[in-house]
Point group: D2
Chain length 334, copies 4
């Protein structure tokens, strides 16, 4: 296969490296407006081709697929151009700046029968997949609520808020685990450092199933937190992505409700059993993601993180940002 990577900023070089390491790309083209970034890439991978011109990539009939890792506002236009040129598209998260753009990409990909995959890498990561497995096995019982913190000092983006920068990770993981998207979203936040660009947000999500979730994102925090807690009726789970070895811990803890008929008055009893930290696979999620994209391009199968998957995240981001800018009013997602 012949693949072009568009954008060699912060994340693009990782995509390039993993594509390279799959050894499945016959031609590998890197495209960026900044020639020095291309030079650095070619120094490292002498066999790749480079160009500063996106249009030559699009016009190149030999290129099967493009992988887009540019600023968010350009995701949709570039993906659209590539799809229209008949290429498969992998686009980084969030897939578009708004749901209309996202919807257009989905329709275009379907019309042109091309693969459209969104880079929700966490859905390929060992801890997130292990948690999905634990949930599906019923170990947690009914999920009550989820609480997540994704905070650290910086890196302040200049074009998007902290919601669009950090919340896609939590949203995609949570929607994946619950197999559901939220019905109501609200968010409180502020723009402390750069006027107009919120750098801290507290986001509430309410799901039709009764689950609620809280996601806290910030570029202003003294230390890095990547901590998600899932509370179920049977067990509780903590996922701490900053831990080296015990990233996922399952607590056999809960409250048991004893029937009032037996006791006159109902009674609650607290249960505390073993804590288990399951073994996790150790592969690089991005590599699995790139392999999956190449597989989809070759076989035509629908990607796990397809356009609809990307769309629901965009809808939630839009709703959260809207609420934040409207005094935390609750936004209903249709």
């Amino acid at each position: 296969m012949n693949i072009a990577v568009i954008g060699l900023g912060y994340w693009g070089p990782n995509l390039l490296r993993n594509l390279y390491e799959t050894r499945r790309c016959h031609r590998l083209v890197a495209c960026d407006l900044n020639a020095s970034k291309l030079e650095r890439a070619q120094l490292r991978y002498p066999s790749i081709e480079v160009t500063t011109d996106f249009n030559t990539v699009i016009a190149d009939g030999d290129i099967d697929a493009v992988v887009i890792a540019t600023p968010v506002s350009t995701h949709a236009p570039l993906a659209q151009a590539a799809l229209e040129a008949g290429k498969h598209v992998f686009v980084e998260k969030p897939m578009a700046s708004n749901k209309e753009e996202a919807m257009q990409l989905i329709e275009l990909a379907e019309r042109r029968q091309r693969v459209l995959m969104v880079g929700h890498t966490f859905e390929f990561s060992p801890p997130v997949l292990k948690i999905k497995e634990v949930i599906e096995r019923g170990d947690l019982g009914d999920i009550f609520y989820i609480s997540s913190s994704r905070v650290n000092l910086g890196l302040h983006q200049k074009d998007i808020s902290v919601i669009w920068d950090l919340a896609p990770h939590d949203f995609s993981s949570i929607f994946f685990w619950l197999d559901e998207m939220p019905k109501y979203i609200s968010a409180m936040g502020r723009d402390y450092v750069q006027r107009g660009i919120p750098d801290v947000a507290f986001i509430n999500l309410e799901f039709a199933s009764g689950v609620i979730a809280h996601v806290q994102v910030s570029w202003l925090a003294p230390s890095k937190l990547r901590r998600t807690t899932l509370i179920g009726s049977a067990k509780m789970l903590v996922y701490d992505d900053t831990e080296n070895i015990e990233k996922v811990k399952i607590f056999d803890k809960g409250v048991d409700y004893k029937d009032p008929e037996t006791f006159g008055e109902y009674q609650l009893s607290y249960r505390a059993g073993d804590v288990v930290s399951p073994r996790l696979d150790t592969y690089e999620p991005l590599f699995k993601e790139m392999e999956h994209f190449l597989d989809c391009c070759e076989t035509g199968q629908r990607p796990k993180t397809d356009g609809y998957n990307g769309l629901r995240v965009v809808k939630a981001l839009e709703a959260a940002e809207k609420s934040l800018r409207n005094g935390s009013q609750v936004v209903e997602i249709e």
Copy 2:
């Protein structure tokens, strides 16, 4: 002084012990409906008097002050009866079930010229006082936001929600630090274990000064968290009350904004200096609190945690509970 402690449930025995240890109480009377609790108290402190009848306490002209540690719904009625009988009153947090009750107590205490003190113990605790000192010295710069988690497994209350049970601690500390109460409050929560009694809540507070705060309280969590982060323009502070020795940590971290005039485009630079965990005093906060109450009774001085201090917490609790029960709608506090 002659003091009566009303209620020997979970917290009352601690008040009794600390009053006893002040060695400033001539008569110390314990009152509870449950005779076996009185018996246990008297076994431990043979010199105290006990009674199951609140009215004999009230009618006893020799009793100077009462200390109330009964269920929340009885706080205001008992305090009112005591004030009307001309006694000084210390009442546990929250001081009343609603702001009307709280206001009546304040007015009554003023009319009768009696001390009315509310048991916001955290305002007497070494870490909370140290943080106040750090803020007043200007070390944190302008405070941007505060985020707090107070969660653990249980103890589910049967008469009040987790908001009324746990949030008083965070509210009183935050209002004390900021010297301000919030203008807008919203809260999302659910009642998972006991129908009608929320056991998890995510509370947003917005202050007129621009500060925002988030407080997360829950009786459903795998491990105990008592963690508050204060983010300022100059430094950041973490207060972890589950730590034994480094409860308060001050991070010399922040973002500096460089003027666009100098650089063409503005620049952000991140700063990371020393981390300091200041030495904290080691006394028991409750002891200081009881001493302060006795001092106020003797001198007539206004307590640090007076009725107005208690009232603002009650107002905030009411607003949070109201928002939670109204689909997280933002509630304005007049």
Copy 3:
């Protein structure tokens, strides 16, 4: 039963409280040279008798057993007097100042057919018992080595070294787990704060079975460590007594040796599976210990921590101290 507690210093009041709470003592007598300590005890437990005179306790034919919690140098003389007076004896760890004294107590108790129990409380504690269970089930495979740290700032003793103060806990736990005492002991240490009284020691233990153990004890350390690691051929275990909930963790980790015949050269492969923190019982070890002593007194059964159990700890302490004072020379235990 009628029991006397001798010594109300640091530990004695805990023994008294637990004996009291068993509700199995008809008479409970407290004995200390310091009258104010007796007063405090009686204030708390009005029903107990007190005396400053050990001899009246000994002479009191009604007293069935004594519980000794005095300075180490007095353990043996007091225990001896009590045994000779026909009383059962519980003596705190270490049971004596040297092995000769310990041996005499054992012989005396046997001759007089009295119970002699030593206060190695850890052998009654939930984590230590859980570890014993894990080992006996074979979960760890062959035990390779054990490493333990028991350090904190203070409390410097004035009559015994840090070895005699802190190492009894590790020694009794390790010998209990291994069911073996060491053959060789060496120790390096120094007396930094008080001349002649070592306040830090690094102790090596070698067992005939091939196991080795290292025990580090210190009164000079910035924070409290209570951490023991057991490395087995099959699994590894960490016991951290400063943790609140995950005191014991079992790591399914190890190295597998692959036969050279299959591979030309032998290969090592590393294995990392789940980490499990088993649920532990939550009772107070001291209460179990006191119950066990009373049971033994009543039934005549031999205590779990009998004189021989106490003797092997004394032998090891003596050897360690001797090595420390002789330039870390290895001492063989006969």
Copy 4:
């Protein structure tokens, strides 16, 4: 300058990368017996030269210096050949298999007036340098003792014991801090996995100044520990290299001895003040080390980690290994 890197195993590629990034090497030659490793290096750095033949490097009069990162047993022979060919030499730690070899290299380098530098990278690392600075400023007072743990699961070496593999880091740091090498060394250890190759060791070091140190190294441990504690008369310091941000913590803790003349009996009082984690520089130690080597080659200055620096580590390793193989007998270092 023209530099050759000998050995592209585990560590060599890091040296190569840092040399490359100094941009100070005119020619950069990589030498390894394994052609595929050379190929991988050249793919990454197309401008470098490669060879499988060490002799062509030696014979190449244009090469100014060699950087040796081969198995330990080959360090001295290769370094000797290079020095004899008139080249400057950087050799990885430990510099030789025994002190005789090390001494010969030192003499040879002096005779040929070539730079001989040993790769004790820790002496270039920000935390180790910060600790040196803290000690020299007198903040810790007199150093009492040092305790260090360097353990993790694997990687079992096949040619050297865990002492020769891991202890060089601790030894070089400790000797650097104290500016002193030990007078007596003893070690207890075992070879559990590979016969004849100890995989765990507990090493005692005694210094003429009165300081003692304990170093624990192991390839058999459930989790990675890199923790060194320095106890001084004035303050205590913990260096935890597995921490991301607070690698070094200084505890204002200690014991104060009060004169018996004032109190009748002497008194000890414990002091606990602030805990400070100083800001550390964030450069890569290896880069500084390579820069320093290049500087020394250019200017002829004596490297910080010169042959004598390397020799004292080799002497200590030899002594520790000897003690371990002789029943933990104390070995005196002349």
